[in-house]
Each structure stands twice: as C-alpha cells, then as structure tokens.
Symmetry: C2
Subunit: 265 residues, 2 copies
Amino acid sequence: MSNAISEEMTGSTQEIKNGWKPEIATAPLYMQVAHHLEARISNGDFAVGSLLPTENELAEALGVSRQTVRQAIGLLRNKGRLSARKGVGTRVEAIEATSGSTRFIAHSRSELFEIAAETEFVIGFREMVSAQGKLAVDLGCRPGRKFLHITGVRYPANRGKAFSWNEVYIDSRVAAAVKDITVARRAIFHYIEEFTGEKIHEIQQDVRPIAMDEDIAEKVGGKGGDLALIVNRRYYGSGRRLLEYAFQILPADRFTYTTTLRAET
Amino acid sequence: MSNAISEEMTGSTQEIKNGWKPEIATAPLYMQVAHHLEARISNGDFAVGSLLPTENELAEALGVSRQTVRQAIGLLRNKGRLSARKGVGTRVEAIEATSGSTRFIAHSRSELFEIAAETEFVIGFREMVSAQGKLAVDLGCRPGRKFLHITGVRYPANRGKAFSWNEVYIDSRVAAAVKDITVARRAIFHYIEEFTGEKIHEIQQDVRPIAMDEDIAEKVGGKGGDLALIVNRRYYGSGRRLLEYAFQILPADRFTYTTTLRAET
DNA sequence: CGAAATTTGTCCGTATGTATG
DNA sequence: ACATACATACGGACAAATTTC
C-alpha cells in the first residue's frame, strides 16, 4: 500500500488515482484499471510469479470499488496474464509458457492490435478488384462488388525475418482509409475504424494448414511445399456488414498457435 | 413475464425459479442461470435471431438479481450463443456461422466436454511407458516418469467417418481412472477428475500443421501426405501438476478451426 | 427534429460463502 | 480455530445507445 499519489478525485470525471492518465478518456473505468495493471506488470512493477496486491488494496489505492478491480482483473485473467486462487491471491503469469516459436495468432480483438503494433505490414501491391467466383464466395458477397486488394509481407518491428504473407480485401466504400499507407504499423481494421468512425464489433477467424507454393514461400524465407498455417479473417462492422477480408500465411516452422483453456469457475 | 412457476424459494439453498432443477447443486447461481438459458435456447423456447427477455424481466422471472443474470449472459456471450446491443437487447445467435466443414476444436474447457459427448474415442492400443527423450520434453517432465499411453480413433457419435487420430498419455498415478474403458464417451480428463476428485483447472493447447504419414492417414480415411492439423493438449491439475498429455490429428479437408473475436466493450 | 421510454453498460456499497494457510 | 483473500450475490444509481412517439 501507500504508493497511491492520493490526489483527490476531481468529482465529475472518473479517473483512477496513482498517477495514471487514461489513454482513452472515454474508456470505461475497469478497462483503464486493466491497462494500468498491465502496464505495471510489463514495466516490472508487479513481477511475474508474484502476487498482486489484494483486490481491496488495489481498490483503495486506485480509488475505485472492488467490483471494478475485479472486472479489470477478469479481463487480464481471460488474456492469461493473471490467475487467481481463492484464499491465496492473484498471481502474475508469464506471457509465454510454451517452448520454441512465438505465438502470433490473436485470440481477441485487442490482441490483434498488440500484434499489429509489434509488426510492420509493408504493402507491395495494390489494385481494385471486382469480386468474382471463389473470391465472391470467400467474401460472402454477390459477384461484382468492388474491393481494394492489398498484398505484402509483415515483418517484426525490428525488421528481422519476415513472418507472414498477407492479403487484404477492403470494401471499396472504406478503401480510402488506407489510401496513403505504404507501411502499416497498426492493424488495417484500425485505419478503417478511424476513417469511418464505425467500430468493428466482430472478427471471424479460421485457421487451416496449407503447403506453401514457391512464390509465397520465397517471400517469407521458406521453400516451396513447406507447411504453414493460413489464418483467414472477416471483419464485420455494425449490422454484420463485411468491411474487410484478409488472410495471412504463417510458416509452420516458426509459429505455433497456442491457447489456454481454463475452468469457468 | 408470468411464466415463472412462482414457487417460494426454500430459504437456505439458492435455486432459480421457473421449474429449473440445478444439475449440479453446488454450481454457482449464475452458471445455473446460464445452463437454464442455454437449455431454453436449444429447445427452441428462445428462437435463434430473436431477442431474449430483458435482463430485468429474466431477473424477476427467475428470482435472482439482475447482476446474476448479467453474469450468466456474459458466459453465453463469451461462447458466442448470445450478443447484446445497448438500447436494443440480447440476441440469440446461431451456433454455426461459417460454411463448409464443421469446427471441432474447442475454445474452452466446457466445449471439450461437449465435443467429447458428441463423439466416441475407441481405444485400440494401451501400454505403460517411461518418458524418455522427445516424449519427456513434450511432457515437460524428468525422464523416467511413467505414463499410460493410449491410442485410438475418435468417431462421431453416429459412427460415421472417423475424424481424428488420438494419442493420450496419462500420469501413472491416475491411470487407474481409465482402467476399464475401451470406448470413451466422455473426455478422458473427465474420467480423471472423477477418479481423483481433483479438478483440472488449466488446459494448454497448441495447433500446428502437419502432413499425415501413411499409417495415420489410413486410420482416419485419408492418403499419406494429406494435410492435417495436430492439436496438442496438456492438462494441469492444482499446482500446475501435469496429469494428462494428448494430441489429436484432424484431417484438413474435413475440419477448420474457427474462432470469433469480439470487441471487449 | 427532439423528447421520452427502453435496454444494456458501468460503478458503487455491502454482505456472505469458500478455499487456503 | 482463525485470519486472509477471492467468489458469489444482492441492491441501487446513473450513463449511453437505440427505438419510439
């Protein structure tokens, strides 16, 4: 305890104590708390393997109710950053548990943001297309609808070895959102949300195995016939309107798709 | 409203109204409510595409607080059965959205139960092994620990085409849990939980592409070299004790791993 | 177009249960 | 047996989005 800055809450606007300034002033309090906790975990303030302060301590220190703290902790538990045990406390978990290759497939919308922030999508090709045949089926739209088709390679932020080949189809009505982008440092759908002001509520994602063809293998530094995962995503706005369709090819030798399933109780 | 049976609560034990008898009397109220709602959805009482009664109506009808109803609805929203919109209501969603092959990879512990219940694991081979080399590494244990090794094919409950090749390693201390099983109609870890009384809190799962060898391909009705997904699972009891390790090979032509990512807000 | 009603979302306070040490 | 700390449950209040009038 006693590390709260203890400035009085200003009354009308809700804001947690302890020097934290909300990145997005409009975000609900429990999300602000979650971000705050996450930041203090990654900066080492709360060490991995250690126990968090109790919910009551956090509530008091941050000037919010215990319920709000619990909601925040709940988010991070879903993400696997925290785990709680009755009568003991809330433990900070390691981000990575499995050996070997990194996991770079998202399990939540916010993870897509994080991954995109850690990588760069270098756009190599761009054209307007009219959905026909298989593409129209994949997009689940009537043939003839127009999309902006973008292809390129996604690199780690430090520009190491390429890790995925990406193809993106953007509804022509919102394609202007990426008009001037040549290197995307955020998720493509993030640009779309900013441009339209409309939030993407749902992303449907499926994962299948493929053998890479020569062409793509070369671009991500592999050989033709190498195994890979193809991750397919459909981005829906309000009213289940398809705004973006994309797929990504991840070489199997470098990536594993890891999930942790937890008991609901 | 007005479909509550309106029997008085018995006082000490918590139980929701409306004729619902809790399957597991010890389950928290919000889970009972979730199961209740799920049952009424699958029996058609709440039609897919329609709006649920409002949270306040449900709370009153079931004799619980609105918060409890919200928690229950939250569970089903996470599972994709429900979706909510501010100012509108809570919609019953279709179970399956994607076209093509069925998805049969779990995203939660409870889904593992459901999938296991819809399939049969026919055990074809069984032996005690001592973990050595690669196996010890996979299991993350010191070499020499003993495991019961089981292999077999998993079929749909209607005994159609096989859909996966399975290999399971069970800690020798709990291996007696499956001593007499030749056809498992529940999840293997379910037998272990029953036997030990200990709950499996965490399951780590990873998905990778492989090309099937002749041997396995034949068993699941494919050809050698066919693409497949290999799903690898580690089952941990309390204190992160590894109780079971298993992998499953799913032919790519029949299965897709589908996930839906939703906005947290 | 605007006001009102409806419905979910957030936040708080409190009380009690339950697993752990 | 006892204290601790998370889990469940209730109640109330207001905010925000949507629909209706």
